[in-house]
C-alpha cells in the first residue's frame, strides 16, 4: 500500500463518519453544560431528583425545538 491510500474512498468515508461523530459529541457536550447550569442548581447529591432528571431531558428537547424554530424563522 502506498501513500495514495490517503486519497481512497475508504479513508474519506471514515473521516466523514468521524466528523459526524465529532459534531454529535460537541452537541451533547454543549447541551450537557448548558442544561447542567439550568437544572442542577444546588450542591450535587448522590443521585438526581426526579425533577432534576426531567429538567435535563426537557432542556435538551426544548433546545432542539428552539433550534428548529430558529431555522424556520430564518428561512422566511
Amino acid at each position: 500500500m502506498d501513500s495514495s491510500a490517503l486519497n481512497s474512498t475508504e479513508l474519506q468515508n471514515f473521516l466523514n463518519e468521524e466528523k459526524q461523530k465529532a459534531m454529535v459529541n460537541e452537541m451533547i457536550g454543549k447541551l450537557t453544560s448548558v442544561c447542567w447550569d439550568k437544572c442542577i442548581t444546588g450542591t450535587p447529591g448522590s443521585k438526581f431528583s426526579s425533577s432534576e432528571t426531567s429538567c435535563l431531558t426537557h432542556c435538551a428537547q426544548r433546545y432542539m425545538d428552539m433550534s428548529l424554530l430558529i431555522m424556520k424563522r430564518l428561512q422566511q
Binding site: M1, D2, S3, A5, L6, S8, E10, L11, F14, L15, E18, K21, A22, N25, M27, I28, G29, L31, T32, S33, C35, W36, I40, T43, P44, G45, S46, K47, F48, T53, L56, T57, C59, A60, Q61, M64
Partner: protein, 87 residues
C-alpha cells in the same frame, strides 16, 4: 487537535498503511474528546464544590467533587438519550 501528522510516515521512516492512519486518528480523537470532557467537568465541579478555597481540600469538598463527577457523567447520558430518543 494539532498533533495530526501531515506526512504518512512513522517514526522509523516506514510508510503508514491506511489502517495505521485510521488507528492513529481514532486514538487521537478519543484523547481529544476525553480531555475536553475532563476540562468541562473540572470547571463545573470547581464552581459547585469549592465555594471558598482554603488551605487544603476538605472532606466535604472531596465528597462533593466525587458526587459531582458522577452526576455530570449521568447528566451527559441523560442528555444523549434525550437527543436520540425523539418524542
Amino acid at each position: 487537535m494539532d498533533s495530526f501528522s501531515s506526512s504518512p510516515y512513522n517514526a522509523s521512516g516506514s510508510k503508514l498503511s491506511q489502517e495505521d492512519i485510521i488507528d492513529q486518528v481514532k486514538t487521537q480523537l478519543a484523547q481529544a474528546y476525553a480531555e475536553e470532557f475532563l476540562e468541562t467537568v473540572r470547571g463545573k465541579c470547581f464552581d459547585k464544590c469549592i465555594t471558598k478555597p482554603s488551605s487544603s481540600l476538605g472532606g466535604s469538598e472531596s465528597s462533593c467533587i466525587s458526587r459531582c463527577v458522577e452526576r455530570y457523567i449521568e447528566a451527559t447520558g441523560i442528555i444523549g438519550r434525550a437527543l436520540f430518543n425523539q418524542h
